[in-house]
Symmetry: D2
Amino acid sequence: MDDILQLGQQALAAQPFSRLLHAQLTAFRRGQAELMVPITPDLLQQHGFVHGGVLSYAADNALTFAGGSVLGPAIVTSEYKINYLKPAHGERLIARATVVAAGARQAVCRCDVWTVTDAGEVLCATAQGTIVTLAEPSN
Amino acid sequence: MDDILQLGQQALAAQPFSRLLHAQLTAFRRGQAELMVPITPDLLQQHGFVHGGVLSYAADNALTFAGGSVLGPAIVTSEYKINYLKPAHGERLIARATVVAAGARQAVCRCDVWTVTDAGEVLCATAQGTIVTLAEPSN
Amino acid sequence: MDDILQLGQQALAAQPFSRLLHAQLTAFRRGQAELMVPITPDLLQQHGFVHGGVLSYAADNALTFAGGSVLGPAIVTSEYKINYLKPAHGERLIARATVVAAGARQAVCRCDVWTVTDAGEVLCATAQGTIVTLAEPSN
Amino acid sequence: MDDILQLGQQALAAQPFSRLLHAQLTAFRRGQAELMVPITPDLLQQHGFVHGGVLSYAADNALTFAGGSVLGPAIVTSEYKINYLKPAHGERLIARATVVAAGARQAVCRCDVWTVTDAGEVLCATAQGTIVTLAEPSN
């Protein structure tokens, strides 16, 4: 197992909210992160689809890990936007984030969120956001 | 209790993910919605602050209810963007959403997410998004 | 005239693209900026309304000035999102931006873009974005 | 020349603001649009780089054409967000937009804005937005 993947998995496991959602970091390399969330009954909304908040969580966290893969661990998500594309149902979500551009202080990343069903993967949301390094103490 | 508030609370209670997060609809009237999420250890990230995914959930859901207050219940959140402003900690989150402009098919809404601490309310995130009516079957 | 308003107007007048659009800074104080763009035939799209790119320009620039009012002149707009609300026509656009939250390195701002017609002001777009200080040379 | 490209070029030429900026539609096919804007002194800001408003115009318009390539001509841009990545200078901008997902009423699109310099193409902004069909008269 890659050292960087293992470090990322430890970081994810240190997030109580990610443990609550049983999220797993399934790929993590320079410029890319992939997060998996099993779809359980707890994660749904009133119509039986995955709650938008879960899609947002997956996108947000995958964006953060992608940014961290180039900026290091002392980062925070500054902002992102997400478009919901299709109602999400199936076995699990996969959020795949990539770095579009990175400098010393920030990385702009994209993330596609897929749902895995019997019929294959379906794109259910897409996001774009900014990950920034933590400000210096003097700031 | 207002009928519309009670209807909104029933809609929220029908969302398993909102029950998992113990979210409550604390105000709901034409053009406005307020959602409260108690901050519990399960909702944190690795540094002890509320996970961004929880702030996103609160903003997303408050935006949706605000949109629903003018568009009716057959709606879906199309998209939103969120800026994280401060690390969130305290007793509870309060997401306050308002309708900025509404037409027959969509409502554009804003949401501020506050955290309630001993020292008062602190603005920790702000969001803007679009709620749309569900397409007709022929679409 | 306020010194800060005069400084802002000089900064705007130093932008060739703002001169091309005849934009004027009509208010500028700590936390707020107001930009006016006269609606001329050159600024329209094919249906006779103001082109979205002009609304975006006005929102973008007003956001930047609002951020600059608290961060100083060495800034750049990092990102923003805009929702178009109504087709814009009339005499002039007014973009009013305010700072929602500011730290040492960034300001998150909102902007409403109005069109002024015979019947009064109509809200035609709303935006939210992030203004950041320029990175230190060492970055 | 493709019929669809010619139709798109006529639509662009019918926009006075696009003529003011000398924009050209350089590619247009189902799911994709490419817009070119020559960088002239009129389009700059005070530091000699292309004004953000021009990058926004290019992204906005390319997103709209991409959406129109699958939804038809009776459309409007509902919203988008843009991240500025690098100061833009050079000979011309190229905005390349693609459809990420489309339904009957909307298309979600992405756009990368490049600047062409002596040293090649440089990515200077990236955007994501929603194009929607015009509402029925009854709406």
